[in-house]
């Protein structure tokens, strides 16, 4: 594809630029900002669409206006020309026009397929539209597409080999790395190492077991030997211990024995046995008893003397004592008599008071009353009840009288009210009625004849009927209207009957409310009925009139014949009317004149009469109003009359009632008199003052009762004082008798009371003295007996003591007591010695005893204790050893058990073996992978060496050319992303170590080679943006043949801002043209 023309409508800073690219190699020269790069981007965008707004530079929205987009004139490989247009507003669409002008819009995908040989935008950017930036991207061989071009000549292509190696490499890395730690094999190795060292460090189980067992046997042996020697050693130690502990005791016993012997020697007969043990106690007892008895005897003697002296002092009077009971009784009564005297004085005072009060009350009750009457007066309940009954009756009567009075007053009041009311209403009604009459008279046609309501009504109805008759008769003369009437008159009974019925019904309807109006209230029902009847009558009338109309037509011819008859009829009715009026009204003539037109004499007058009918009607109206007013008035009168009648009746009733009440009050007065008389009687009987009212009675009763009570009390007091005086007298007499008998004892006391008191006291004193004497005599007797007993006891004691002396073979008390003392001491010593001996000998057989005594005798304290502690030390050491051995035995047994159980659980070696297996397994896998990898590497090496892909060969050729043979070859190993350059002397250099210029030459060579490979069927144009800036002059010149060669197959467009570059190229390539930009 060749781009023949560029037309920029608007892109970036460009607007309306047009370029023609005729030559195979076009050099676009322009200074900075001439728009070279923009133009390059424009071409890219034209071919691959405008990028989105995210990349504003690449998108190139027009800065100076113009439509965003443009068009290209293209020639395809067949030489056909196409014009393509692309505008940003059209989205991804491209407009394509062929040489014949046929235009069509196609999508980007189709466009790319059609004209760009399916090259993707990315590849295009990397290979065909190249600036320095993109040139360097190739260093890393980005993109599968390009990589594939490099290796495609092989079996599986570079990618397969690469990915296979990567896959293998990954797995190998996962398995093992020389210095790794997390890889499976590394982990296994370290685990193995760990277990091995653990096994190495663990003790040799069997050896340990053997050792432990051996130790155990040794321990057992030693234990046994120790245990065998143990009892004997224990025994010896115990003996020594015994001797040591008992030594003190032994010494003491020896001393005791010596003392005893010494004491015995003091006695005359040292071998004499010890006196009985209780002797000493008995001696003490005897001595004490003797002392006691002697002392007792002395005491008794003293007592005896004392009692005898006391008895001599006592004396008393027998006679006084004989009257002691009488004195006793009087003394007891004394207090009572004193009390009675006091009481007597009190009673006297009370009696006087009571008497006074009775005397006071009596006159208040009644002048005639003495004490007897007072007592006779009825405290009786009957009296009281009687009085109460009387009182109640009295009160009742008084109440009745009051009510009768009130009734009378009420009645007279009512009567007065009625009277005044009656008179006033009567006057009023009379005035009103007369007034109305007068008014009606003035207005109407004179008074009505009938004076009652029904009569007036009847008369009025008659008048109206008559008038209707008359009117009917009159209308039959009317030329138009009379025909109906005539027809109806003539056309048969039926028609007239119908009218009559209608009229009747109507009349009833009208009359009904009036008739029933008596009661002043016409019910709705009645009005309803009346209305119905009116309607009915109207209906009948209408039906009848229709019928008569028909008949009328039929009989119109007969009308005239009938008129005479009608006239007669009219006159008759007229007269009738007048009669009726007369019956109604007093001034009937004037009324008739007003109301009834004069009867005309001929037929023609009838019309005239007809003219007057209007005024007639109004008069009738007036008459009807008058009648109705009259009716109302009549009714009103009736009402007033009935009311007055009613009042009259009520007055009568009141009068009657009043009479009755007066009769009652008379009766009542009579009853009051009887009551009063009864009361007087009652009072007389009781001798009470006549003027007393029953109301005063309760007070009277109270007073009487009070007086009665006082009287009774008085009587009781009097009785009591008399009794007291009697008893006091009796007492005094008894006292006087005694006073005479024992005058001496009374002394000068004269008062009976005091005298009896002192007498009584004297008697008591003498009684006491007598009793005391008796007691002392009894004591004397017992004391004498006791003194006898005491003497006997002393004798007995003396006897006992003598016996003791005999037994001890002593003669004196002193001797006896010495002997007792010695023996006591000896006994104590001997007992102690015996105790000690028991202590020494208990639990020991003879041999042991002997050994013990031997030890005690032959060793002193120090040697014994030294011997003992030595033995103890030995024993302790042995025990310690034994405990230790036991402990050791336990430990060893445990250790053996532990070793056994460890052995049972031990599985380190199995684990080790498992790990090893795993490791071997993995190693196998690793080996396979490694071999595989190695084989691939080897195969690849062969390949790279012998079957280098065409792309690389071509690139190498370009590179060689450009560098003038300084480098021979470009190598692209598939396993790395690096590109290598082989120098003249066959060294391989990584491209990144080359100089910048050489690097760019290498990349450019690669790009040129790849271009050929990438677009073989649609050779796309190469757009190079100032790629030669780092080329030196020679290399630039060297590059020209390469460009020329390329230009054979495809269009080349070079952009540069360096004049010399442009000139060199144009000078070096004949097929090239230079275009100036921005000029």
């Amino acid at each position: 594809m060749y781009i023949r023309e560029l037309h920029v409508e608007g892109y970036g800073a460009l607007q309306g630029v047009k370029l023609e690219l005729e030559a195979p190699v076009s050099v676009l020269y322009g200074p900075n900002e001439a728009g070279k790069s923009t133009l390059l981007r424009f071409v890219r965008s034209m071919l691959y669409g405008f990028p989105t707004r995210k990349e504003p530079v690449e998108r190139g929205e027009p800065v100076f206006g113009g439509r965003h987009g443009g068009r290209l004139l293209l020639t395809d490989k067949n030489g056909s020309e196409w014009t393509m247009e692309r505008f940003a507003e059209r989205g991804g669409e491209v407009t394509l026009r062929d040489h014949s002008g046929l235009e069509r819009n196609i999508g980007q995908a189709e466009w790319q397929r059609m004209m760009l040989g399916g090259i993707s935008e990315r590849t295009f950017k990397q290979l065909f539209s190249v600036s320095l930036n993109e040139l360097h991207e190739l260093r890393t061989l980005q993109g599968e597409e390009i990589g594939n071009y490099l290796y495609h000549a092989g079996l599986a292509g570079g990618s397969a080999v690469t990915s296979a190696r990567r896959q293998i490499g990954n797995e190998m890395d996962r398995l093992f790395r020389p210095k790794g730690t997390t890889q499976e094999m590394n982990r296994l190795l370290s685990a193995i190492k760990e277990i091995e060292s653990a096994i190495r460090h663990s003790r040799d189980g069997v050896q340990a077991y053997q050792d432990a067992k051996e130790t155990l046997v040794q321990v057992e042996l030693r234990l046994r030997s120790i245990e065998e020697g143990m009892p004997e050693r224990r025994m010896q130690a115990a003996k020594l211990q015994g001797a040591f502990e008992l030594r003190e005791w032994w010494l003491k016993r020896e001393m005791l024995l010596a003392e005893d012997a010494e004491l015995r020697r003091e006695l005359p007969d040292p071998s004499a046995p010890l006196v009985r043990e209780d002797s000493s106690a008995a001696w003490v007892e005897w001595k004490k008893q003797r002392n006691d008895a002697t002392r007792q005897l002395e005491v008794i003697g003293q007592e005896l003397a004392e009692y005898q002296m006391m008895r001599g002092k006592l004396a008393w009077n027998e006679d006084l004592l004989a009257s002691y009971p009488e004195l006793e009784r009087l003394e007891a009564a004394r207090e009572a008599v004193m009390a009675k005297r006091d009481e007597l004085t009190e009673l006297e005072a009370e009696r006087r008071t009571l008497d006074e009060s009775v005397q006071n009350v009596l006159p208040r009750l009644s002048g005639n009353w003495g004490e007897a009457e007072l007592l006779a007066f009825g405290g009786l309940a009957a009296d009281r009840d009687e009085v109460r009954a009387l009182q109640q009756e009295w009160e009742q009567e008084e109440r009745v009288a009051a009510s009768l009075q009130a009734e009378l007053r009420r009645l007279s009041r009512q009567k007065e009210v009625l009277q005044t009311e009656y008179t006033s209403s009567d006057a009023h009604s009379r005035d009103e009625l007369s007034f109305r009459h007068a008014k009606a008279e003035v207005k109407l046609f004179g008074l009505f004849v009938p004076q009652t309501k029904p009569a007036l009504l009847q008369a009025w109805h008659n008048v109206e009927d008559a008038r209707r008759e008359y009117e009917r008769a009159r209308t039959s003369f009317n030329p138009s209207g009379s025909s109906v009437s005539r027809v109806s008159a003539k056309s048969g009974k039926s028609n007239r009957l119908t009218y009559t019925i209608a009229g009747m019904i109507g009349a009833i309807a009208l009359a009904l409310p009036v008739v029933l109006n008596d009661g002043d209230h016409v019910s709705a029902y009645v009005y309803g009925l009346a209305a119905c009847l009116l309607l009915l009558s109207a209906a009948i009338a209408i039906v009848a009139s229709r019928r008569s109309a028909k008949q009328g037509k039929a009989s119109s011819s007969a009308n005239r014949l009938m008129s005479d008859e009608n006239k007669a009829n009219l006159r008759f009715t007229h007269k009738q009317l007048k009669d009726k009026l007369r019956q109604l009204v007093e001034h009937s003539e004037t009324a008739a004149a007003d109301l009834v037109s004069d009867l005309p004499d001929n037929d023609f007058d009838f019309g005239d009469a007809h003219v007057h009918s209007d005024t007639l009607d109004s008069d009738w109206q007036q008459l009807r109003g008058a009648v109705h007013d009259q009716l109302e008035r009549l009714e009103e009168r009736n009402r007033v009359q009935s009311k007055q009648q009613e009042w009259q009746e009520r007055l009568l009733e009141l009068q009657l009632e009043r009479d009755l009440v007066e009769r009652d009050s008379l009766e009542h007065a009579k009853r009051m008199d009887t009551l009063r008389w009864k009361w007087q009687e009652w009072l007389k009987v009781r001798q009470l003052p006549i003027h007393l009212k029953p109301d005063g009675l309760p007070e009277l009763f109270g007073l009487a009762e009070q007086a009665q009570a006082a009287l009774r009390q008085l009587r009781r007091v009097t009785e009591r004082s008399q009794a007291l005086q009697a008893s006091i007298q009796q007492f005094e007499q008894a006292v006087y008798r005694l006073m005479e008998a024992f005058p001496s004892s009374i002394g000068n006391r004269t008062d009976v009371i005091q005298a009896i008191h002192s007498l009584h006291k004297e008697a008591e004193r003498q009684l006491e003295a007598k009793e005391e004497a008796e007691r002392i005599e009894r004591l004397l007797a017992s004391v004498q007996a006791a003194s006898g007993e005491a003497r006997i006891r002393i004798e007995h004691i003396e006897h006992g003591i003598a016996k003791l002396f005999r037994e001890a073979q002593v003669d004196s008390e002193a001797e006896f007591e010495l002997r007792l003392r010695l023996d006591e001491r000896c006994r104590v010593i001997r007992k102690e010695a015996r105790d000690i001996q028991l202590r020494l000998e208990s639990g020991r057989d003879n041999e042991a005893l002997e050994h013990l005594y031997g030890l005690l005798k032959s060793n002193d304290d120090a040697t014994l204790s030294a011997l003992l502690s030595e033995k103890q030390r030995e024993g302790e050491a042995e025990d310690e050893l034994r405990a230790e051995l036991l402990d050791q035995r336990g430990r060893m047994t445990q250790e053996l058990e532990r070793l056994r159980s460890i052995a049972e659980d031990e599985d380190q070696s199995q684990r080790l073996r498992e790990l090893q297996s795993k490791l071997e397994h993995l190693t196998e896998r690793y080996a396979v992978l490694a071999i595989c990898e190695r084989l691939i590497v080897q195969a690849k090496a062969v390949f790279e060496e012998e079957k280098q892909p065409e792309v690389l060969q071509r690139a190498s050729r370009y590179f060689r050319q450009m560098t003038n043979g300084a480098y021979l070859r470009i190598v692209a190993p598939g396993d790395t992303k690096a590109l290598l350059a082989e120098t003249k002397d066959r060294r391989l250099l990584d491209s990144s170590y080359l100089s910048r210029g050489t690097q760019e030459q290498l990349y450019l060579s690669m790009r040129f080679a790849l271009c050929d490979a990438a677009s073989p069927e649609q050779p796309l144009p190469l757009l190079l943006d100032d790629l030669f800036v780092h080329f030196d002059e020679q290399r630039l010149v060297q590059a020209l043949p390469v460009l020329e060669e390329l230009a054979k197959d495809r269009q080349i467009v070079l952009f540069t801002c360096h004049r010399y570059v442009a000139q060199t190229i144009v000078a070096g390539i004949p097929a090239s043209r230079m275009l100036m930009l921005g000029s």
Partner: protein
């Protein structure tokens, strides 16, 4: 010649408590069972002795692995031998390369009734029947150290005075390459030495090398790796009055090892592979005679389309996990079946030699591989080149050194298959 008939048991290579090879990710019940299996086999030997009224027992070396220093092994051995001899059965023992006499290893005392041959020279002990009659002379010599390169068999000299002569030796007859060549000797030498029965140890596959005189390997009593497949046990040997020898094999092992091959030929997808694997295991499971647990290695072979997928990393492990899931859990089954591993030895649809004819990258690669596997030197060079980083690990280096040329060839083959598969897969993608 022989007057009294008698019966003895010939066993060897007990390897008590020595670890099992090639196990990984074993659940605890199985691990426990395996741990106990050598002891269980020993117990069965003891039961056998009791039940069949055995007169004496000969144990031809390698009773335990001294290197493992297992106290448990020695305690159990001591106890079980005690049980045997307490019934009046003599036990004759020689030391082999795994339990040499001079090991720095401490040893427990042998119970009375156990006769252990020294290493200084060939000793001779009389063997009696249970009734107390002399029935045989037992000759034997122990390994003084673990590696004995001398021909010990030559030192055996018959001593007259017994109706039957039994030689007890731990040795490699005629240089069996799968075992260390210790105490090397020739069958011919043994057969002509004048003994009635050579009770041999060292080789773990039981085999009768010669009859009259009998030269017999009883094999080990419990398989300990996938290389030791099938029933394992001891020989019960009855010698009749006339001197005729009747040998009965008794399986003693508690757990059996087995390898089965499954071909991927004709398999289209994973489901079919799964079915085939399951039916192969089912077949084993339904074997009525199988009365003990079994560890199975599945070897995938043949040429099939799923080959490529089997070459993916870890794929064999994943299949193994799957298989274990499908099978009943070892806790639930007494005679469980445990897939120990799956080894992939399959080939792709493309034959390597065909590819080698091709031009291009793959052809070049395969040609290189085939060349390497064709020559021991080339393969070694390739291996050294490829595994340079591994050589720095002494453990691995040691193990690699022990690998044979066949192993290398196998690896190279696998590598070529892998490379082809990878390149093709990418090509297709």
């Amino acid at each position: 010649m022989v007057s009294v008939p008698f019966t003895f048991v010939h066993a060897a290579d007990l390897h008590l408590d020595s670890p099992f090879k090639g196990l990984s990710k074993v659940p605890e019940p199985i691990r426990e069972r395996l741990r106990e299996s050598t002891f269980e086999a020993l117990r069965r030997l003891s039961d056998l002795v009791k039940k069949e009224k055995i007169d004496f027992v000969v144990l031809a070396g390698d009773l335990f692995d001294a290197a493992d220093r297992s106290l448990r092994a020695q305690l159990r051995l001591q106890r079980t031998l005690g049980e045997m001899t307490s019934q009046g059965t003599q036990v004759f023992v020689v030391h082999g390369n795994h339990d040499p006499e001079s090991g720095r290893q401490a040893k427990l005392d042998w119970p009375p009734g156990v006769f252990v041959f020294g290493s200084a020279g060939v000793d001779c002990f009389p063997a009696y029947s249970r009734e107390g009659e002399l029935v045989a002379h037992i000759y034997g010599i122990s390994y003084p150290t673990s590696a004995v390169k001398d021909n010990l068999a030559l030192r055996f000299k018959k001593r007259e005075g017994a109706p039957f002569h039994l030689a007890l030796l731990h040795a490699n007859v005629d240089g069996d390459p799968s075992h260390d060549n210790y105490a090397p000797c020739k069958l011919e030498e043994l057969a002509t030495a004048g003994f009635d029965y050579w009770a041999l140890g060292h080789v773990h596959d039981r085999r009768v090398l010669h009859e009259y005189p009998h030269v017999v390997y009883s094999g080990n009593i419990q398989g300990r790796s996938i290389r030791e497949t099938g029933p394992k046990g001891a020989y019960v040997v009855s010698v009749s009055e006339s001197g005729s020898i009747d040998m009965r094999f008794r399986e003693l092992s508690d757990v059996r090892w087995q390898e089965i091959s499954v071909s991927i030929e004709g398999l289209e997808d994973e489901q079919q592979l799964k079915n085939r694997l399951l039916s192969a295991l089912e077949e084993l499971n339904e074997d009525d005679e199988r009365d003990r647990p079994m560890l199975v290695r599945i070897r995938l072979e043949g040429r099939g389309v799923i080959h490529d997928r089997l070459l993916q990393p870890n794929i064999a492990e994943e299949w193994l996990e799957e298989l274990r899931e499908w099978l009943a859990s070892p806790e639930e089954q007494e005679a469980w079946l445990w897939p120990e591993s799956i080894v992939v030895r399959t080939s792709g649809m493309i034959r390597l030699d065909a590819v080698a004819e091709e031009e291009g990258f793959a052809g070049e690669l395969i040609r290189k591989g085939i060349a390497a596997s064709g020559s021991s030197d080339l393969s070694k060079a390739l291996l050294n080149d490829a595994l340079e980083s591994l050589q720095k690990q002494p453990k691995i280096r040691e193990w690699l050194a022990s690998c044979s040329h066949e192993d290398s060839v196998e690896w190279i083959n696998q590598a070529m298959e892998l490379a082809l598969s990878l390149l093709r897969v990418d090509d297709a993608g």
